[in-house]
């Protein structure tokens, strides 16, 4: 039997390619019902959600979970691999967690991370064509405690976590390297 892997992309890849219009068009009624249940249970239900005015946090989680629910599982896969949040989604596709548990886990995890991000603001940078001395730049005393490598895709393609307060300095160094 030929082995086939199932790949699940990270959040920002999905976020880029699925527009709010797409969500409204494709979102299933079951998805909305599930969401309402979970939002009510977790006391994070908001009136804005009913009016279909989403904020960033809601959009992220809605995009992810609506995609999970709209796809059927298939037993032909022998391997499951996901990047970042994709690893959590693959728990459902690999039958390790149930649908309800997966939704609950993803939502609760997202809430913890977004709350943490409010206290210590930061974001992820995608760097393609990363300079060879990137690790050296990150390990300088200036950036050591504020910049970290978060995802390694290849030798030239990284995602980097940066605290908001050092972003300008870090950006300038990268721009200098580019020139």
């Amino acid at each position: 039997m030929k082995k086939i892997a199932l790949i699940l992309p990270p959040q920002h890849f999905q976020f880029k390619e699925v527009s709010l219009k797409d969500i409204k068009k494709n979102i299933k009624i079951i998805v909305l019902k599930k969401f309402r249940e979970i939002f009510k249970k977790n006391f994070i239900w908001k009136k804005s959600y009913i009016k279909k005015k989403f904020n960033k946090y809601e959009i992220n989680t809605i995009v992810l979970i609506s995609i999970i629910l709209s796809k059927n599982k298939n037993s032909k896969y022998t391997l499951f691999g996901g990047v970042s949040i994709g690893e959590f989604l693959s728990l459902y596709f690999a039958n390790i967690l149930s649908l309800n548990e997966t939704i609950d886990l993803v939502l609760r995890r997202a809430k913890i991370l977004y709350d943490e991000n409010k206290k210590n603001p930061g974001f992820m940078l995608s760097i393609y064509g990363a300079p060879s001395n990137l690790k050296k730049i990150i390990n300088t005393p200036k950036f050591k405690n504020n910049v970290k490598i978060s995802i390694i895709y290849s030798k030239f393609f990284y995602n980097i976590s940066v605290r908001k307060n050092v972003y300008k300095n870090f950006k300038n160094i990268l721009k200098k390297k580019k020139n």
Binding site: L6, Q11, S126
Partner: protein
């Protein structure tokens, strides 16, 4: 041959960077303050262990149930080794599919290609 070398050189020289929308400083020690909350959350579920899931933290398959839980906690605060994951997939599988747009997956595979 010359064109190939030129392409590699240009790719190395070119640095493109952009902020990822809707993200925080995740998968790094910058958010270590929330480790206890994530630990509690992940240990809260009943996992039915299956030997078919790749770990972002180690780059290889999860070994057992407790290993799965630990790896899920660790992946939130450590570097994600997708380069190792993709090598494992290429080595062990004939093909790949995704429930998401195939364009998205092709993009990831293309961007990862230089390491294979």
């Amino acid at each position: 041959m010359f064109i190939k070398i030129l392409k590699i050189y240009l790719r190395k020289k070119k640095i493109n960077f952009s902020i990822l929308q809707g993200t925080g400083a995740w998968h790094s020690s910058l958010i270590l303050n929330s480790k206890n909350k994530i630990k509690k959350l992940i240990n809260n579920y009943n996992y039915k262990f299956k030997d078919c899931l790749l770990s972002n933290f180690t780059g290889y398959k999860h070994k057992n149930k407790s290993n799965l839980k630990n790896n899920l906690i660790s992946q939130t605060f450590n570097v994600i080794r997708w380069d190792k994951n993709i090598k494992f997939i290429k080595k062990n599988c004939f093909n790949y599919e995704s429930p998401f747009k195939i364009k998205t997956i092709q993009k990831i595979i293309y961007l990862t290609k230089s390491n294979i």
